[in-house]
Amino acid sequence: MSISRFTTEKIAKYTIWISALLTLLVMVWILFQVLREGLPLITFNFLFDYPHEMGRKGGISPTIIGTMALTIIAIIVATPLGVGTAVYLREYTRESRVSRLIRFGTDCLAGVPSIIFGLFGFIFFVIFLGLGWSIISGGLTLAIMILPTIICTAEEAIKATPYSFREVSYALGGTRWQTTWKVVLPNSLPGIITGVLLGVGRSVGETAAIILTAGSSLLMPDSLFAPVRTMAVHFYILAREGISMEMAYATGAALIIMILLINSAANFLLHRYLKKLER
């Protein structure tokens, strides 16, 4: 018995639709699971209190500070490096051995697993440079983790700037740097910011590399050289050590909310940027 090709078509299409729906379902399930239990537990106190009894009670304020501090350092370091690299690749060279090498490096860096970054951050920042388990060690490690993302999105944004803008700037007596700084970069800004937001999202969720470089102290950090725990790390420790499922749910929910907000901001910006290009 041979199945007609139209039946095959039907079966195939149904299978695909079901797969897609299942995927969507799973995603909703995952988010829903954590949010349903955790969201109600997020109170003002939860966000601003100190943790007590290893996190069994109290709040998560040091971890929020920790997450923000590490992310800010990562952004401050990675953005100039990433945008500078993108500018060099797009405005200052053509395809050459050097540019191919740079791209190769960036692609490889993007594929390195976070645990390897953790090992590197540990041996290099914590031990070799003597920075210890600290905000600065964690932030610098995060910076090199998000560097490829920023390079990639910055390059796309710069590439999208119309050539005529550049030609006009040169024709009016602009140097290469003036043209880049006054025309290309301002025009690419929305795209660059989107990339930065993506980097922020990654930083917020990162765990493996952070544990090995920023430590897991629950104390409120008092300097850049103090160790700190981020929300993601706290969530992990709470869940794995079985300290408190309630607190884990709440922390997880807070984490998800943060990431949802960052993602929406990035998408919103991207939309506005694309609309602007159409004009």
């Binding site: 006009v168 040169y170 024709a171 009016l172 007596g173 140097t175 003036q178 025309v183 025009n187």
Partner: protein
Amino acid sequence: MPFEGKILIQNFHFFYENTLALKNINLRIDEKQIFAILGPARSGKTTLLKSLNRLTDLIHGTRHTGNIFLDGQEIFDSSISLPELRRRVGMVFDLPTPLPLSIFENVAYGPRLKGQSQKNKLQEIVEAALKAAALWEEVKDRLNNSAFRLSGGQQQRLCIARVLALDPEVIMLDEPCSGLDPISTRAIEETLYELKKKYTIVIVPHNIQQASRIADRVAFFLGGELIEEGPVAQIFTKPQKKITEDYLSGKYG
């Protein structure tokens, strides 16, 4: 002999990679006149213009032989400052290309690049440039609006004002009126007529009629070669070559 005229082009060949785009051009452009460069598409007119301010340097794989002199000085000399050259030899492109800035900032862009940052000085320069481009009256109350809100003709006059703000010596216009309505075209032509008293104008006209309206001298290009050049009256009434005559009478285009 070689150091005459505002611009002197000598034995100039231009290559895009291995394609010869301009072949043995010898041309002299004197100051304070409107010099029109005519010819069908792909004759090398834009390439010639972009060579005069070395915008061709931006394109990879281009090279040339021969010389181009501006006021007796070779422009391809390594001691020449490119930004300075491009300020002296300004260019208006065929499509209006305002920068994503306000009207004021568009005109002030060039002077700012040069280093001028004093607010009142910039305001003087912008006003003078917009007046010379016959745009001041129309925009003086909305200088902070986006330049994109202007009409096509106004945008093009903005581009002229942008160039004027740098006080150039030569103004090049590459089909500046393409896509513009007759009224805007007329306005720009009248502006050019005024400007030629002070500047040297090199224009690739939109059509032959425009050349006959405003040019003082005309050069006819075909396939990258200069066929002939001379005063506008002479070229139009008594062209020396048959292909020139055929082109001017519309036998091909």
